[in-house]
Symmetry: C2
Subunit: 208 residues, 2 copies
């Protein structure tokens, strides 16, 4: 299959969230034009994105909402349940671990790790904070699909080494550092400082 751009995958995610809203409204079909309007793009873009994976629409009608939702979930790999561990039981880690929205989409937080003796052993709803030193052993036993890394920037490269050694192939990183990982490991960064700087840039350069 040909390479799919990250921007395409982001839009597919977006379309799926729109479809879920449309389904709740009880509509049976939707046109590429309507999805484009919701997503701030063009109908040609929507059709191109979908056509990378097949022909899901009916000419003259549009797309059947439940059918297209299902296809998108399949494409995005959301059919299955993913096992997620959170590394770093701090402020961000706590917010993420307690967030209901992830499990709804099949991302199940099944463990939380920290290096701080004061935090290890603490109960977080159904989870207990575990020592990071056990990560590799636990991963071998129960297997994690995704690691969410929410540790201080300076410790994060070392943490990520452990994550990689534990055989985890996908990382969502919240620390403001650039990670270097083997090519079979996928990283996505959430860098809020960078987003704020983008806003700062926009505010500083308006109307020029």
């Amino acid at each position: 299959m040909k390479r799919i751009a990250e921007s395409t995958v982001r839009r597919l995610s977006l379309y799926l969230s729109f479809l879920e809203g449309i389904e709740r409204q009880g509509l049976k079909t939707v046109s590429s034009d309507e999805l484009a309007r919701l997503g701030g793009t063009t109908s040609a873009q929507v059709r191109k994105d979908l056509s990378l994976f097949g022909s899901f629409g009916k000419r003259g009608l549009g797309y059947f909402v439940p059918e297209l939702s299902e296809k998108l979930r399949e494409i995005l790999g959301l059919g299955k349940q993913w096992r997620v561990c959170i590394i770093g039981a701090g402020k961000i880690g706590a917010a993420l671990a307690r967030y209901r929205g992830f499990a709804e989409r099949g991302f199940n937080v099944t463990a939380v790790y920290d290096s701080d003796e004061a935090k290890i052993g603490k109960r977080w709803e159904t989870l207990t904070v575990r020592p990071i030193s056990e990560l590799e052993k636990d991963a071998a036993k129960q297997g994690f699909d995704i690691a969410v890394v929410a540790t201080p920037a300076e410790n994060t490269p070392a943490v990520v080494k452990q994550v990689v050694r534990a055989g985890i192939k996908a990382i969502l990183n919240f620390a403001p550092v650039q990670l270097s990982v083997p090519s079979d490991v996928t990283v996505r960064n959430v860098n809020m400082a960078m987003e704020l700087e983008g806003l700062s840039f926009a505010l500083s350069n308006r109307s020029e």
Copy 2:
């Protein structure tokens, strides 16, 4: 000035963070090649990005680290202090309000708002949670440059209307909804579910 792509601005942010690390190491100059290596891009990309704003380097030598840092801070609008308010005193709002990293870069959280009576009036370190109904009045008095929106998805469109009415021109949105705002308001979205779906896609489509 010509339009600058968002991807360029993201890279400028990244370069700046590298420069700060390099400065701490005590190095005086850096080449585009070194910055490219750190950022996982090419030296031509680095030079193109910078050349959009001027000629900051010295041939044969590279860039003077403190000088380039300063230039980047200027370009990104980081010379000044920005006033930031957080809307939604929930899990994410709490993590953000207590995060030290923002003030270090000139983003000062000066107020937190919520609609929940139980939360209004609570003290958060130096801040007191204020009723969202006061947002417009407060904004007129003290002025906010940036609003961080961390409210439940269903309430977020209404919240954003209030933010826009309060005259705030930049929004960092954590709710998984697409916002519609006037064209003079800049929005950046942080959508963690979408990032996880990107990882899910990568895990599901490896080696094809």
